[in-house]
Symmetry: C2
């Protein structure tokens, strides 16, 4: 008799984005002529840059003749891309500890942050921030590392670390024993960043306690302020205790094109139940070789084009465009009397509602009065209650129109 | 303290293809001027067909302007592709039970046959054929459903079903209780097929015992003989107990382009530990929505082109080319006095060595005397001992040269 994975039954049915979709549909069904502006989901809107498109076409063309045709590629990704990443994302940023061989090309950071859990045992305690990108939590539940969800919306067995105005959205070190720690900076959903000093505390903690930090740096390209680390490996010792996830999704508009990568330095170790240390990189290599077959060759060619001189310039221009959106949003919302976080080094603006209005009430109010869709902060965890996330990835015209409407909220 | 997934320690270190690579390297290092012909790994060599290339370029071009740009697509795949599959692969083949909504587009069948295990609990007993595509076994081990490997090279906890000349390479129904059954027809590695009557026995068994059949049909496009089922859903009742995996890899040369799909009809159920039935499709949908972000849009466009009138013709021509290779191989090997299986409805030829020579001894002999690389049958499991697999995916010139050499084996 085939048995289901019982852990799936623990998952919350009312997932955030479907619920948003339901409410938006209800509204548009009732108001068919109203133009709704979507600033909810973090999906990009600007096209792939010309250099990327050119390389993508070239990759496709190579597949058209037997001489240049590419069959199975390396499961870890092509050297040309891994080397470009090591050189441009790490070495050029002063990080010499990361070699091309430590970089595993994949089809997405969402996949990788979920799949990475497979190489770790179910006795690990996972720590996440609250609010948090829901994928870290849901994949932890699916893998069997948790109990059921409790009354405050936390899964038993996960250690939640509140992020709020008081701690500047960087959590305090946990009191409980934890083993794997998800951190995401620039942060989704709050749009805030962590300084070197703040990350140093975490790296030291991980080294002292033999933990591993799972560092999601998908939004690093949006950092504008000097001194804010783009990589966890800018922190001394991180090469012994951290795995970093990065993506071309938000950096280069690859949400529909699909390419990302995971970095595991040779020196990161985890332990077996006899206390013996094992390198983590060969475990991930085995996982990827067995359960993954590499990223589409033309897509890897396209991704590599982001590191050419022209590609870098074009990609930077698009990032600036989104950051200018974020700046317009920040200013408009502050003018309207809201307390606003993020949006300086990230494409998300995290807004505090007025008069302790709940996140979902604010969602309904914004949708009904301004026809703008955002994301209720409480959807990212209980500590997000009373906040609201706006994404800066919309077209400029839409951003300006949306903000004009929001300013006139009752 | 971060803990590894201990199941990874059970995995055999000497994996088949790395060992082949090691021996080939040793040989070519010692004989640098010798031209080695590779007929080992099942990777295609012929370019993408013109219709596919055209659609692929069009997909890339859509990403180049804001009006046609595609961000995140549906995690389940675009409707245009799911509908083309339902129509052409199922309805046109007389299978009306499969709807577009039952089809989940992915980046590979290797990924899917591994990932599918996540939605099933670790108390399931897995049945596999012997010889077997190693991914089914290794991913079962990784997921924690087995004990250690034993002296004959079988993992404790997995039920192995021998396939050999006596049973025409279709296994007998298991005596032991099993829950999830991997079947692959046309078969990798033996190149043999199962008739409707043979599959009917399996479907009836699965229905009677509430098992699920995980049916890998990645090679269905190579079927040439009438009456051999292309899909498990041609068997009555399979829509209640079978999941089917298919791929564009071998059908349309997508090994480096990456696109496949998994079919889960609405009526397939598995049970919780209270014996309550749950639909499997929503579990997979949840898994894919949470841990996967869809296949690259231009790749899906390219895959859909295989279903156009021109695309179908071009794809069929390439399949014919590989099957003609297989035919040449069969004939040459039979002429040389070998007993040969497969190669009629599959791109693999399964050869019995002479005088009970072991698979690896034959590998070394073929490599040294003819400079041809094949795959030792024992690498696919103990029942493959004494057999050897040749892949028909090489260029015609290479196939002819290789077979000329093999005929002259001592």
């Amino acid at each position: 008799m085939a048995l289901i994975n019982e852990n799936y039954l623990k998952l919350q049915a009312g997932y955030l984005f479907p619920e948003i979709g339901r409410r938006v549909k209800e509204f548009t069904d009732a108001n068919p002529d109203t133009k709704v502006i979507k600033m909810g989901i973090g999906d990009v809107t600007q096209p792939l840059a010309p250099s990327i498109v050119k390389a993508f076409h070239e990759g496709v063309e190579e597949m058209a003749s037997a001489e240049s045709f590419k069959g199975y590629g390396p499961e870890q990704g092509y050297s040309f891309l891994r080397e470009a990443i090591a050189e441009n994302d790490y070495k050029a940023n002063g990080v010499n500890s990361i070699k091309a061989d430590d970089i595993f090309i994949s089809d997405g950071s969402k996949c990788d942050t979920g799949n990475i859990q497979e190489i770790f045992g179910n006795d690990n305690v996972i720590a996440v921030t609250d609010p948090v990108y829901p994928v870290y939590v849901d994949t932890t539940v699916m893998s069997g590392k948790t109990g059921n969800i409790n009354d405050v919306g936390h899964y038993n067995g996960i250690v939640y670390m509140p992020c709020n105005e008081k701690n500047n959205f960087v959590p305090a070190l946990p009191h409980d024993k934890v083993d794997l720690i998800f951190l995401c900076y620039p942060n989704n959903p709050t749009g805030t960043v962590a300084t070197k000093e703040e990350l140093k505390k975490w790296v030291d903690y991980a080294l002292d306690n033999k933990c591993i930090i799972l560092y999601d740096a998908a939004y690093q390209a949006f950092i504008t302020e000097n001194g804010i680390p783009r990589s966890i490996y800018e922190i001394e010792g991180a090469e012994k205790c951290a795995i970093e996830f990065r993506s071309f999704s938000k950096t280069a508009g690859f949400t529909g094109t699909r390419c990302a990568f995971t970095v595991i330095p040779e020196t990161v170790v985890a332990y077996d139940n006899k206390g013996k240390a094992h390198k983590v990189k060969p475990l991930w290599n085995r996982r990827q070789s067995t359960k993954f077959n590499g990223v589409s060759y033309p897509v890897q060619k396209a991704a590599a084009a982001t590191y050419t001189t022209e590609g870098k310039k074009e990609v930077a221009d698009t990032i600036s465009y989104y950051l200018e959106n974020a700046s317009i949003m920040r200013e408009s919302l502050e003018d309207a009397g809201y307390k606003v976080y993020g949006g300086v080094n990230a494409p998300y603006v995290w807004v505090k509602t007025k008069n302790n209005m709940s996140s979902w009430d604010f969602f309904d109010k914004v949708l009904k009065e301004t026809n703008v869709v955002g994301t209720p902060g409480s959807g990212f965890g209980p500590s997000g209650e009373g906040y609201f996330r706006f994404s800066a990835f919309a077209d400029r015209d839409h951003v300006i129109e949306a903000m004009t409407r929001v300013k006139n909220l009752s």
